[in-house]
């Protein structure tokens, strides 16, 4: 058996080395990949907190990569470098004892690494919002986001407009189960827990649309609980607030949209949705006052186009099984009128 083992040594040696090499190559690739960022990436941040976290992340990837390589080098050395005897055939004497090496590698090395990390971690902690911050309350629902601007009289859903260059104090609440509010480009996530009020400070440095998604498993449609933070230049933001805080425009009489407004009140729509300026004041579903300004339906599930919207109104369950919107039986002309009406809600 021993002879067979000895034979196996050399073959295994090269095989092991060749497998470790690509692993190391991939480890190096982790440092390069984020440069070509796609949709969102915590290493291509546009927000204050996300930027300081990205800095910590880079530091950690590089130092952890170095420590890993050091350990692997020691491992390979231990596996394949045999010190049997000196040239004169005497058993080799070692200057540094085993225990010393173990303490150097197992205690000193990690201590230095984690010591620096702990010091750095104090940097990226979430900060309190400045007093001039815009206050926004986001309420998590299965499976959509209710967005309120308490001082500004705006209630909307799924799309959160914020001014560039200003702190935004987001109050996070939940109406049912635990959700988690995460916009990777702007900040770390904070959970929305029923019975508890959490806060998160957002601060976008650049105008743009930043995708966010629920990060705590919240049930059947956890995967389709998406939202967008739209960072506007201050003047655009003010204009948006003026437009959103008003009531919905009443459709011109005699148009299909006017029929749609009637259908909305007759069908069960109004018992779950609010349209300011009309009798519809349900709160179980998203506020639709300015629905036509939003780019998606069903919390980012599908784009807000007449085709998808028609399918959604007729049977939301086929688009997003498990959402709370029930299938609503209606005549085709009612559906067309509703589509026309919803399209006017700007």
């Amino acid at each position: 058996m021993a002879a067979r083992m000895a034979q196996g040594d050399r073959g295994r040696f090269s095989a092991l080395r060749s497998a470790t090499a690509p692993l190391v190559a991939v480890a190096v690739a982790i440092a390069v990949a984020p440069a070509c960022s796609g949709n969102h990436h915590i290493l291509s941040p546009e927000g204050k907190q996300a930027k300081s976290i990205a800095l910590i992340a880079w530091f950690m990837f590089i130092s952890a990569g170095a420590v890993t390589l050091l350990v692997f080098a020691a491992l390979l050395h231990g596996m394949f470098r045999r010190h049997r005897t000196t040239r004169r055939g005497e058993p080799r004497r070692f200057v540094v004892g085993e225990q010393t090496w173990i303490i150097a590698g197992g205690v000193a090395l990690p201590l230095v690494f984690i010591g620096i990390l702990t010091a750095m971690s104090l940097h990226g902690l979430p900060s309190e919002a400045k007093p001039d911050a815009v206050a926004i309350t986001v309420v998590g629902h299965q499976y959509w986001w209710e967005v309120q601007y308490p001082g500004l009289g705006v209630t909307t859903a799924e799309e959160i407009h914020v001014p560039v260059g200003r702190d935004v104090d987001v109050t996070l609440l939940s109406d049912d189960v635990i959700h988690s509010f995460w916009v990777p480009d702007l900040a770390g996530k904070i959970d929305m827990i029923p019975g508890q009020t959490n806060h998160l400070t957002l601060h976008a440095d650049k105008a743009g649309t930043y995708r966010g998604q629920c990060a705590e498993f919240c049930g059947l449609q956890h995967a389709n609980m998406i939202f967008f933070v739209v960072a506007d230049e201050p003047s655009t933001f003010d204009a948006w607030v003026r437009s959103e805080s008003g009531a919905a425009p009443a459709p011109a009489p005699g148009t299909p949209a006017a029929d749609g407004a009637i259908a909305f009140q007759e069908l069960p729509c109004a018992s779950c949705h609010t349209i300011k300026g009309t009798a519809a004041n349900g709160t179980a579903g998203p506020d639709l006052t300015h629905f036509a300004n939003r780019s998606t339906i069903g919390a980012g599930t599908v784009p807000n186009t007449p085709g998808y919207l028609g399918g959604w109104i007729a049977d939301a369950q086929s688009t997003k099984p498990g959402s709370l919107m029930p299938p609503i039986p209606m005549r085709p002309d009612q559906l067309n009128a509703l589509l026309a009406y919803l399209g006017t809600l700007k």
Partner: protein, 641 residues
């Protein structure tokens, strides 16, 4: 087990193997199967059952990866995906990873200690039956279609009856509470066996590192598992009895559940890691042909890891809005665990480094693969302990990648090292070496291919536990790569385990000590006889088989440090030794095979079913039978002594 004070009689009277076989062996057939208290049979049952659950959990993983291979996948719907996801986590952690160490421990601990059975053989049988039946109970949900679907972590209030009204989560909550009995009694059994039944001379500083691993694990189980049982029981009380422990609308707290769950859940990671390091230490020693470097440091590292692991649970909850001062404390404690882990890793490296020769046999490959994969998982572990970074990556695929590196690297690889190391002892057969090596490489490549890309997915904002994702987020090709890796990994598992199964029937007979190893389990035949050793071995070093003159029988030593050890043991008896130095103190008679452990386990199952269907008469009857069975179990033991 009951000790009887018996003066050692002069002269050794070693019973012949035939009469020993008669006293220790089981009756053949189904009666023997149901009544057996033989630690080896129970150990093998544990191992086989756990590996079956590994494959069940693996199939669930394959289904999930098939669904996530491409955006907008249609393999599984959201409902099925959530069920499969919940059962994958539950199965892998609770029905595979934890119990398989009970399998190794049951089989090996008495052999390594040089004794004939566990301290409480009937309790041992019970702990297996409860494991099997609670696993069957949870999987019985597949027959009803109401499969647990609230995630393996079952966070409230999602798992409250308001949001999941069926009995899905009742199967889970009752099942894990029921299973906790198995783990707990198993741990007590290990502690007592290791404290009192070591071979004369095997003081704590001569304890094999695997035994240290199981001992440390057992103490952790005793302190951690009650918290899970409380979490599960309170959840069931909320669900079945309308209580409000976790209901914030009635003064309860959703976070209370998370604290209770993670007070178990974090130590749990180390409950499956510490005995795994014990396996790695044994394997690395044997194939490096030398004693582990700095044995004492390794033992201190094991115990330190166990202690620190109880102070880290909040790092699973950094994003819950806790004050950041609190979070920082847990962050510091979390990164500290890198030190004992580092000590162990460098001890293994130094053991190899100063070895005259290393044999890269399959168990050794798995042990080295463990170090490589675990180091990567450890690095990302330090990263996620840093609060601000964790706020970004927690609940993302970065964390999925991290803990699969830790669990597969830190626990599954050592488990496979152990399976390949002790297989000849347990099965009495040798397996095909080449197939084992192919299995290893498939697993090693598979695990890296599956989980390394997931780090990037997490950094790119992909959350965990999503049944689907949209196109155009840059996640498509990495997910496909990960799915391909998962199938390579699966192929590795099939090859490795398939090879062992084939060897059971076709493999050549194994000698007593095929690897030239050092510990007592290799001193007896492969497989060992029902009574393990004809006499009681006496040890005076950490490596009894290496430090013994050739031809010397350890069971024939009659003197230790000037003390006469001769003892009459022709009955169904074992030696009891003192806790610290393992000086022989007396002998104890062991209980015989019994139906009662099976009956008690069955009644516990019926009680679980009664709670599930809320039938209290049925439950009371089962409690009644359970009480009678417990009395009968103990009455019988009294008679025998």
């Amino acid at each position: 087990m009951s000790a009887i004070d018996q003066e050692p009689t002069a002269g050794t009277s070693t019973p012949d193997s035939e009469s020993l076989e008669e006293v220790w062996g089981d009756t053949p057939g189904i009666a023997g199967f149901l009544t057996s208290v033989d630690h080896k049979r129970i150990g093998v049952r544990y191992l086989v059952t756990a590996v079956v659950f590994l494959f069940v959990g693996g199939i669930e993983a394959m289904l999930m990866r098939a669904q996530l291979a491409s955006p907008n996948g249609t393999v599984l719907g959201p409902d099925t995906y959530n069920k499969v996801m919940t059962m994958h986590g539950t199965t892998m952690i609770l029905l595979f990873n934890t119990p398989i160490f009970a399998g190794f421990g049951n089989y090996l601990i008495p052999l390594m200690l040089g004794t004939r059975d566990m301290a409480f053989p009937r309790l041992n049988a019970l702990s297996y039956w409860v494991f099997l039946l609670s696993g069957a109970f949870m999987y019985a949900s597949f027959l009803t279609g109401q499969i647990p679907n609230g995630g393996w972590f079952a966070y409230t209030p999602l798992t409250a009856s308001e949001y999941i009204p069926g009995s899905n989560m009742d199967f889970w909550a009752i099942g894990i509470t029921f299973l906790g009995i198995s783990t707990t009694v198993g741990a007590i059994n290990f502690i007592v066996t290791i404290f009192r039944m070591r071979a004369p001379g095997m003081s704590f500083n001569k304890l094999p590192l695997f035994v240290w691993g199981i001992l440390t694990m057992s103490f952790m189980i005793l302190f951690a598992v009650p918290s899970l049982s409380v979490a599960g029981s309170l959840l069931e009380l909320d669900r079945a009895f309308g209580m409000h422990f976790y209901d914030p609308t009635h003064g309860g707290s959703a976070l209370l559940y998370q604290h209770l769950f993670w007070i178990w859940g974090h130590p749990e990671v180390y409950i499956v890691f510490i005995p795994a390091t014990g396996i790695a230490s044994m394997v690395i020693q044997t194939f490096s042909r030398r004693s582990i470097a700095a044995y004492h440091l390794v033992v201190v590292a094991l115990v330190t890891t166990a202690f620190i692991s109880f102070g880290l649970w909040v790092h699973h909850m950094f994003a819950t809005g806790l004050p950041f001062l609190v979070a920082s404390f847990f962050s510091a404690a979390s990164v500290l665990i890198a030190i004992p882990s580092g000590v162990q890793i460098f001890a293994w490296i130094m053991t190899m480094s100063r070895a005259k020769k290393i044999s890269f046999e399959p168990p050794m490959l798995f042990a080295i693969g463990f170090i490589v994969v675990f180091v990567i998982g450890g690095m990302t572990g330090v990263m996620v302990a840093v609060v601000p970074f964790d706020l970004q990556v927690t609940d993302s695929y970065f964390v999925v990648a991290h803990f699969h590196y830790v669990l597969i690297g830190g626990s599954v690889f050592p488990i496979f090292a152990g399976l390949h190391y002790w297989y000849p002892k347990v099965a009495g057969r040798l397996y095909n070496r080449r197939a084992a090596i192919v299995g290893f490489w498939l697993m090693f490549i598979g695990v890296n291919l599956t989980f390394f890309p997931q780090h990037f997915l997490g950094l790119m904002g992909m959350p965990r536990r999503v049944y689907t994702y949209q196109q155009g987020l840059g996640w498509d090709s990495l997910n496909l790569l990960s799915t391909i890796g998962a199938y390579v990994l699966a192929l590795g598992f099939v090859t490795s385990v398939g090879n062992l199964v084939v060897a059971r029937f076709r493999g050549p007979r194994a000698p007593a000590n095929p690897w030239g190893a050092d510990t007592l389990e290799w001193a007896t035949s492969s497989p060992p006889p029902a009574y393990n050793f004809a006499g009681f071995p006496v040890v005076s070093t950490l490596h009894p088989l290496w430090d013994t003159a050739p031809g010397q029988d350890l069971t024939e030593i009659t003197e230790l440090d000037g003390e006469d050890l001769t003892v009459s043991h022709e009955h169904h008896q074992v030696l009891l030794t003192s806790v610290l130095d393992a000086n022989r103190v007396d002998v104890a008679s062991m209980p015989h095979p019994s139906y009662w452990p099976f009956v008690v386990g069955l009644m516990m199952l019926l009680i679980s079913v009664a709670v599930l269907v809320e039938s209290w008469t049925f439950g009371l009857v089962a409690v009644g039978v359970l009480s009678v069975a417990l009395i009968a179990w103990h009455a019988e033991v009294e008679e025998e002594t």
